[in-house]
């Protein structure tokens, strides 16, 4: 079974430019999560999708961050414009909604903003 796929794995951009990350969850998983992991910290939830609906985006900085999951399968997280403080690893996870919320994580995208 294929796991959660994320791309790109690494991204280096200059500040003030836009950047986007893509995630394809495990087939059949209706719930999709985006997390941000700062250096030396645990991941923090940015947004949660149930199918195509964003049901929890309270931690998403909406002035510069946006996300979409148009067909309820893959998802894109965008930052525009990027700031130095956005440097982090962006993790995508998916869950079937069963098994007590066991989430499966992708390898992450490591973003460096210069």
């Amino acid at each position: 079974e294929a796991g959660v796929v994320q791309s790109p794995r690494y991204k280096i951009i200059e500040k003030k430019l836009p950047v986007a990350f893509w995630c394809n969850p495990i087939s059949g998983h209706n719930t999709l999560y985006w997390y941000r992991q700062n250096l030396g910290q645990g991941p923090e939830l940015l947004i949660r999708y149930e199918n195509e609906e964003a049901v929890d985006d309270s931690q998403l900085p909406k002035d510069r961050f946006s996300a979409e999951r148009l067909k309820g399968v893959d998802s894109t997280l965008k930052i525009q414009p990027a700031e130095l403080g956005d440097s982090a690893v962006y993790l995508c996870a998916s869950s079937s909604g069963q098994s007590y919320n066991e989430q499966f994580f992708g390898p992450g995208t490591r973003l460096t903003v210069l």
Partner: protein, 117 residues
């Protein structure tokens, strides 16, 4: 609201000796609790999970954890450390929102496990 406190940012043990990584949680409801491991430059991997069944939970690679409601603890243990266990370990709590569906996971800050040869 839920929260997790990992009591040690770093733990160093000798190979072949026991491992203890401490975790306390706070939750308004009956939580699900997890331990995840993250090796350098690799993704998060689930070690084990507590889901209100047995309080002693066995996971992969010889790890286990005991849920103690009276102490609000979920400490991770392993009888004998191996060099390959060196990694970052995260204690995680999850609740279900009142509107249904599972909330995002709340992670502790992590414990860096160092294995001395």
């Amino acid at each position: 609201a839920q929260s997790v406190t990992q009591l040690d940012s770093h733990v160093s043990v000798s190979e072949g000796t026991p491992v203890l990584l401490r975790c306390n949680y706070s939750s308004s409801y009956s939580p699900s609790l997890f331990w995840y491991v993250q090796h350098p430059n690799k993704g998060l991997q689930l070690l084990l999970k507590y889901t209100s069944a047995a309080t002693l939970v066995k996971g992969i690679n010889g790890f286990e954890a005991e849920f103690k409601k009276s102490e609000t603890s979920f400490h991770l243990t392993k009888p004998s450390a191996h060099m390959s266990d060196a990694a970052e370990y995260f204690c995680v709590v999850s609740e279900y929102s009142s509107g249904g569906g599972a909330d995002g996971l709340t992670f502790g800050k992590g414990t860096h496990l160092i294995i001395q040869p």
